[in-house]
């Protein structure tokens, strides 16, 4: 059988997707790349300026700060945002009463339905130093004084990592659960025959069988970490800005607020490039293609 005859149908199934991406992703991408090499005034001509925009961005101290912040916050989110939902999925899987599991799953999903504006506003209240629930409880538990979690530069990155993880926990947890569901029950049966305890079943059956799902989720999360924006935009304030302003915040400021379209495009492409390198490394590391 020739390749075309054997796989022709499969290639045909890809056509709409490829077409869509060519028109809506690759063409704009190419145009965006072009803009990053231009002096893109809003009106009039757009002369090419070589690497000027890139030079401008790379020599900008704010860009470097934003890069460091992105790595710290992104790295933290990647680690915690992977581990926490996994732990919860495993914990949910151990729940025997189905009504409780259903309810828990639904409730854990709730924050995913609300926008960052709502969720952020809510946590600003909850974490407030005077009437915020968190501080009220902490002080009752014997802490000396309230902590201003969101205005204290020392706490700001941690709070972002925690809140981002918290909001998407329910969704990522569902992904893990969907993976657990597809594990063949016969494997558990065999393990029980061998006298495996619940803990051993989780360690020897669930976790190894879940490795494919874990790889996918880890890779998908990796792709997003350099583009984190909404939570930072909502939770930042001038006192913590220098610790939490990430790369996309930088492009937002340069591009949309200051209307420097060329440099903003250059900064965006540096983000693409960094994501590219990171994804490549992660793909190699987790042997994604062997799923």
């Amino acid at each position: 059988m020739t390749t075309m005859k054997r796989f022709g149908a499969l290639y045909a199934m890809m056509i709409p997707v490829v077409l869509y991406f060519l028109v809506y992703a690759y063409y704009p991408l190419a145009r965006g790349l072009q803009i990053s090499f231009q002096d893109y005034r809003l009106m009039g001509t757009h002369p090419y300026t070589g690497w000027d925009n890139y030079r401008l961005v790379l020599q900008d101290a704010s860009f470097l700060d934003a890069f460091v912040n992105t790595l710290l916050i992104g790295g933290g989110t990647l680690a915690l945002g992977f581990a926490a939902p996994l732990a919860i999925a495993l914990s949910l899987n151990e729940v025997l009463r189905s009504w409780f599991r259903k309810t828990a799953q639904m409730v854990l999903y709730l924050p995913h339905l609300l926008s960052w504006v709502v969720i952020g506003g809510m946590w600003i209240f909850l974490l407030s130093p005077d009437t915020g629930l968190v501080n009220v409880v902490l002080v009752k538990l014997g802490m000396s004084g309230p902590i201003h979690f969101l205005a204290d530069a020392g706490w700001s990155r941690w709070m972002l990592i925690l809140l981002v993880t918290w909001k998407d926990m329910g969704y990522n947890c569902i992904l893990f659960l969907a993976g657990i569901v597809s594990i063949s029950p016969s494997l558990y049966e065999a393990a029980r025959m061998d006298g495996a305890s619940r803990w051993q079943q989780m360690r020897d059956v669930t976790l190894p069988q879940l490795s494919g799902t874990m790889k996918v989720i880890f890779l998908l999360n990796t792709l997003g970490i350099l583009r984190i924006f909404d939570p930072v935009f909502i939770l930042r304030n001038p006192a913590t800005a220098s610790k939490v302003d990430v790369l996309m915040m930088y492009t937002f400021q340069r591009g949309i607020l200051e209307m420097k379209i060329g440099p903003a495009a250059a900064a965006s492409f540096l983000v693409v490039l960094l994501t590219f390198a990171l994804t490549f490394a992660v793909r190699r590391l987790i042997r994604f293609d062997e799923v």
Binding site: A9, Y40, L42, M43, D130, A151, N237
Partner: protein
């Protein structure tokens, strides 16, 4: 079944094709391929005018449609008014960057206007304004005001869309009276008043739940920094730009705030507050003083009045703390303006609109709203409908310059006094390129110093954020 390789593609194509034809339907004019300029100018069809606005228009999509119709009727043109629900800056940028053609665009930031001038976006309106009988009349717009909208080459590049006020300390007058305090003049007076608000239970609920002062970050401490003669953003001194908030002279002021913070007089959430939270604290008896817009003195009063007609609540504007030579510094807001993009298809229609907007029918539409919807005429007098009351006589133009047009319902209580203060003391802040980076450093330093997290005397900022140019 034999596989049909083309089937998958065909199916998807058919699906999306049917969807496209099903939904596209009537395409609103102006977005598609641009019509030849000659056609729109033909006498039979009404002149077209396409506007992108941030504040002017209806409060809801439905009302905006009616607003559009009213505009068309009053101007005799075919007006399209697009008012994005969110992300206005992004919309303007994308529209301009992708060659979308508007005849008028609203703006409210002079820094942005400068950028637009620099990037060749705006058209020169000098000649039009100077020769226009309406706009050149100092009773319609005071001659001195035009300086705000003049670029560095002396060209007028935009026209005011309303009268923009300023911000000032707003105090609970009823609390002052209750605690038998007089209006503060100096920084010391302010301290005494704020301390009393914190400690003497001004709302009389027996609980220690009031603060003296709340702000939203550095928004807005100008009324207090006035005591040291310091103005926000840049000030030009001997041709050099300086940032007064980042000089050594600012240090004692931050220490003053740190004292308020430590004594619990300043709302501890001041760093994370947005302006809405700050306003809400004031409206709900939790804080005795905030700094906000002139118009809001009236808003505060009328809101509480609506809630409870017999309320004692009374908000009043205060002059900023007096400086070393008795001078007071107050912040005036950047003006709201219209500009005509360089690629406008109907610049003449745009100019016609700009004149209309400063005349009585334009002002009535921009303030009260739509006749028959927001207000009705009963003989010679006007009457607001329920919708009109809800919309607070603000459809983009709460206040205006034109002295010949009197507000039909007067101003809300306290607003006139506040605006007199604006006229007496307020001046624009100077934003120059690079401010957004400098602002970050200034704000971080100031906020940390104000919350007592940084020994102010080390003057870390005084050195690092004063520009040397």
């Amino acid at each position: 079944m034999k596989t049909k390789p083309w089937l998958a593609a065909a199916m998807a194509a058919a699906l999306s094709a049917s969807l496209l034809s099903g939904c596209s339907g009537a395409d609103n004019g102006g977005n598609a391929a641009s019509p030849a300029p000659g056609i729109s100018a033909s006498p039979a069809a009404p002149q077209k005018l396409r506007i992108l606005s941030a504040n002017v228009g209806g409060k809801t999509p439905e009302e905006n449609e009616k607003f559009e119709a009213a505009l068309s009727e009053l101007t005799g043109m075919d007006v399209t008014l697009e008012k994005p629900a969110e992300g206005y800056d992004q919309k303007v940028l994308t529209a301009l960057g992708s060659g979308e053609k508007y005849d008028l665009i609203e703006g409210s930031n002079l820094g942005v206007l400068d950028t637009f001038v620099e990037q060749g976006v705006v058209s020169d309106l000098t000649e039009f304004v100077e020769s226009s009988a309406v706009l050149s009349d100092p009773k319609v717009i005071p001659a001195a005001e035009w300086e705000q909208l003049t670029d560095k080459d002396g060209r007028i590049v935009a026209v005011f869309s309303k009268f923009q006020g300023g911000t000032m300390p707003i105090v609970r007058k009823d609390w002052l009276d209750k605690l038998k305090l007089s209006e503060p003049q100096t920084l010391e007076d302010y301290y005494e008043v704020l301390k009393a608000f914190k400690e003497q239970d001004p709302d009389g609920n027996g609980k220690d739940d009031t603060y003296g002062l709340s702000t939203s970050g550095l928004y807005d401490i100008q009324g207090f920094m006035s005591a040291a003669g310091l103005k926000y953003r840049y000030v030009m001194e001997d041709g050099k730009r300086t940032i007064p908030y980042a000089t050594d002279a600012a240090v004692p002021m931050y220490e003053w705030f740190a004292k308020l913070f430590k004594e619990g007089i300043l709302d501890p959430n001041f760093v994370t507050n947005d302006t809405a939270k700050m306003r809400n604290l004031f409206l709900t008896d939790r804080v005795g003083m905030v700094t906000y817009w002139d118009a809001w003195v009236g808003m505060f009063n009328s809101l509480r009045q609506q809630q409870d007609p017999s309320t004692a609540f009374a908000a009043a504007a205060l002059p900023p703390a007096s400086g070393p030579d008795g001078e007071r510094i107050m912040r005036r807001g950047d003006p709201d303006y219209w500009f005509v993009p360089a690629n406008a298809e109907h610049p003449e229609a745009a100019k016609q609109f700009l004149e209309f907007w400063q005349t009585e029918p334009g002002i009535m539409l921009g303030s009260l709203g739509i006749e028959g919807e927001d207000y009705i005429k009963e003989g010679d007098s006007l009457k607001l409908t329920d919708i009109g009351k809800e919309h607070n006589m603000d459809h983009g133009v709460p206040f205006w310059y034109n002295e010949n047009v009197k507000p039909p319902f007067g101003k809300l209580p306290g607003v006139q006094e506040a605006q007199d203060l604006v006229k007496a003391h307020a001046s624009l802040e100077l934003a120059l390129p690079g401010w957004s980076d400098a602002e970050k450093i200034v704000q971080q330093y100031a906020l940390e110093a104000m919350s007592g997290k940084r020994p102010t005397r080390s003057s870390g900022c005084a050195r690092s954020c004063s520009p040397r140019s």
